[in-house]
C-alpha cells in the first residue's frame, strides 16, 4: 500500500473521530460524498492541496501532520480522567488518572507492531476496547496502566524476552514523536542532550517529576519522583521497575543519538519502587 495514502487515511480518520464527526457529517462539511471520503480513509484515494487545507481547517489539525502521519499538537502536560473524546470511548481502566500521552506510549506500540505486524497491533488494541486510530494523535491522553499492561502482555507472549528491552527502548529515538517537544536530537554532547531531554519530558508524561541534580564534564545525576496520582492506579512495584529499566535505556539511547561514537550509559542507583524516596539515576559518557 502507498505509504503516503496510508498516512493520509490514518490522520484523517483519527482527527475526524477526535472531532466527533461521523463519516457522513465530515463528508458534508468537506463538500464531498461519503463514498469518496470512505475511499480516502481507506487509503484508496488521495486529496489535493485545497481539500487538505479545508480538511485541516475543519478538523483543527496542523497541515504538516500529513508528513509524519501523526497529529502532533503541542500542549502543556496534565493529569486528567477521560472516558470520551469525540467519537472515542476510552475504558476507565486506561482513562482514569491519565498522566501519559500517546507520545510516550508510541515507542511501545511501534515495538509491538514491529514484532506482531500492523494487523496484530490493531487486534490487540481492539481486544483492549481501544480504537487504533486514537494512537495517531500524540497528545491524546492515556494512563500508565495501559503501558504497563502492554509491556506485561508482550512479556507474556515472549516478545520482550526475544528482542530485549534495549530494542524496545530504541523506538524512543524515533524523530517524529519529538517534533513539537523541543528535544534537540542534534546535540553532540550527550550530557547536553540529557539536560534537554529531562527538561522536555513533561511534554510526554505528567506521571513523574524529573530533575537534573548534578552534572560535570562526563557524568550526571538525575532524579525521577513519581507523582501522587500513580498510587491510584495500583500498579505493582515489579511492573514499575521494568519501566524504570526502559526509561534508563530510552533516555541513554536518545541522549547518545547525536554524539557519534560517544554513548551515555545510564543506571539506577536508587529506586522509589524498592523503598527509596525517589529514583536516582547516574549517567556517564563512555566512548
Amino acid at each position: 500500500m502507498d505509504p503516503s495514502l496510508e498516512k493520509l487515511s490514518a490522520v484523517l480518520r483519527s482527527a475526524r473521530k477526535r472531532h466527533g464527526y461521523s463519516q457522513n457529517e465530515f463528508a458534508r462539511a468537506l463538500k464531498t460524498t461519503q463514498g469518496t471520503l470512505s475511499k480516502i480513509e481507506n487509503a484508496q484515494l488521495t486529496v489535493d492541496a485545497h481539500t487538505w487545507f479545508d480538511a485541516c481547517d475543519i478538523l483543527k489539525i496542523p497541515p504538516h501532520s500529513l508528513r509524519a502521519g501523526l497529529i502532533d499538537i503541542a500542549e502543556p502536560g496534565s493529569v486528567q480522567s477521560v472516558e470520551r473524546l469525540g467519537k472515542y470511548r476510552i475504558p476507565k481502566k486506561y482513562g482514569a488518572h491519565a498522566g501519559s500521552t500517546v507520545r510516550s506510549a508510541l515507542p511501545f506500540l511501534q515495538f509491538f507492531e514491529k514484532c506482531e505486524g500492523g494487523a496484530g497491533l490493531r487486534e490487540y488494541l481492539e481486544s483492549k476496547k481501544l480504537d487504533p486510530d486514537y494512537f495517531v494523535q500524540l497528545n491524546n491522553p492515556i494512563n500508565l496502566r495501559f503501558i504497563v499492561d502492554l509491556v506485561g502482555d508482550m512479556d507474556a507472549r515472549g516478545t520482550l524476552k526475544a528482542r530485549g528491552l534495549k530494542s524496545l527502548a530504541s523506538h524512543f529515538t524515533t524523530a517524529p514523536i519529538h517534533r513539537s517537544t523541543d528535544v534537540d536530537l542534534s546535540k553532540t554532547d550527550p550530557l547536553d542532550a540529557l539536560a534537554s531531554i529531562l527538561a522536555n519530558l513533561p511534554k510526554y508524561e505528567s506521571n513523574h517529576v524529573y530533575s537534573l541534580e548534578e552534572v560535570d564534564r562526563t557524568t550526571a545525576v538525575y532524579s525521577v519522583s513519581p507523582r501522587d496520582h500513580l498510587k491510584e492506579l495500583g500498579i505493582p512495584a515489579s511492573a514499575m521497575q521494568i519501566l524504570c529499566r526502559y526509561r534508563e535505556s530510552a533516555i541513554g539511547q536518545l541522549a547518545s543519538k547525536g554524539s557519534g561514537s560517544l554513548e551515555l550509559r545510564v543506571w539506577e542507583s536508587e529506586c522509589s519502587y524498592k523503598g527509596a524516596p525517589k529514583c536516582v539515576h547516574r549517567a556517564e559518557i563512555v566512548s
Partner: protein
Amino acid sequence: MAAMMGLSSTAYRNHKSRSRSLPVDSVFSLADHIPISFERIMGGGVDLETLHEHAKGNVGHIPARYRIGAFSKRRTSVNALYFIENHLGAASKDEILKHLQVNPAVFKNPDETISIHFVTDVLNYLARYQHRRESFVQIGRYSTDTNRHSRLAQVYAECRTPSEMYDKLFNALVSNYDENYDYRLTRLSKIGATLRVYQRKRTEDALNLRVYGSVPICWMRIGINAALPKYKQLPEANVTKTKCIFEGDDCCEMEIDFEFSHYSALRRPVPVHRCQ
C-alpha cells in the same frame, strides 16, 4: 517556482492553468523554500511587502497588519512566545512566527510597540489547533517568569502588600503593557479588587473595529492578574471573570481575590472561614 514545488515544467504549467489539481506535497515543498506557511499559501493573506523586505535581509520589518494601531508594548507578545517556546517547543514558536510573517528579531526591545492584532493572532493560532482555556491562562501566569529580571519585577517586589501591587499595576504601570484599553479598579481592599477593562476609541478607530482582541486574550489576562503576587513570592490570586466584551457587555470585569497572598505577606494564619 516549479523546482521549489518539486514539479516538472509541464506539471507546473498544468497546475497554473488549473487543468490539474495541486498536489499537497508541492505546497509543502514551496513552504520549505520560502518563509510562508502552508496555511498562508493556501488560505491567502500573504503580506508581499514583508516577504520582499525579509528577502532583502530586513528582518525587523513587520506586516502592515501589525504596524497599524500599534498601541501594545511588545513585552506581552514576548511573554506569549516565550511560553510557547518553553512549553510547546521551539518548532511550535517558529511555525507561528512563520505563519504570521514575523521574524524573532522584532522582539529584541520589549518596550517597542506593535498592534494588538499580533498577540491576538498568536493566541488564535493556538486556539485553532485545539488549545483550551487553561493553556491561555497559563500563558498569562507565565508573565512573572518572563519578566522576573525586568525593572517592572523590581517595582512590584518592592510593594509592601498585594493590594499595593495591583494599585501600582493598574494606576501607574499599565501603559508599560498596552494602551489599547482603559483599566479601572472600581474596588480595592487589602484582600481583593474589582477590575474593569474598557476598549479605547483611539484603538477602535485605528483598527476600524467595534470589538478587538479575542476571548483567548481575556483568558491570558486572567492569568496575568492571578500571577502578580508571585513577584513577591506570594501565592497567586484567584481571578473570576464576571463580565466580557465578547459576551456583549460594555467591558470585561474581573474579581481578583488575593486574600491568601495578603495573609501570606503578613505571615499570619489564614482566617478560619478560608480553612474550612
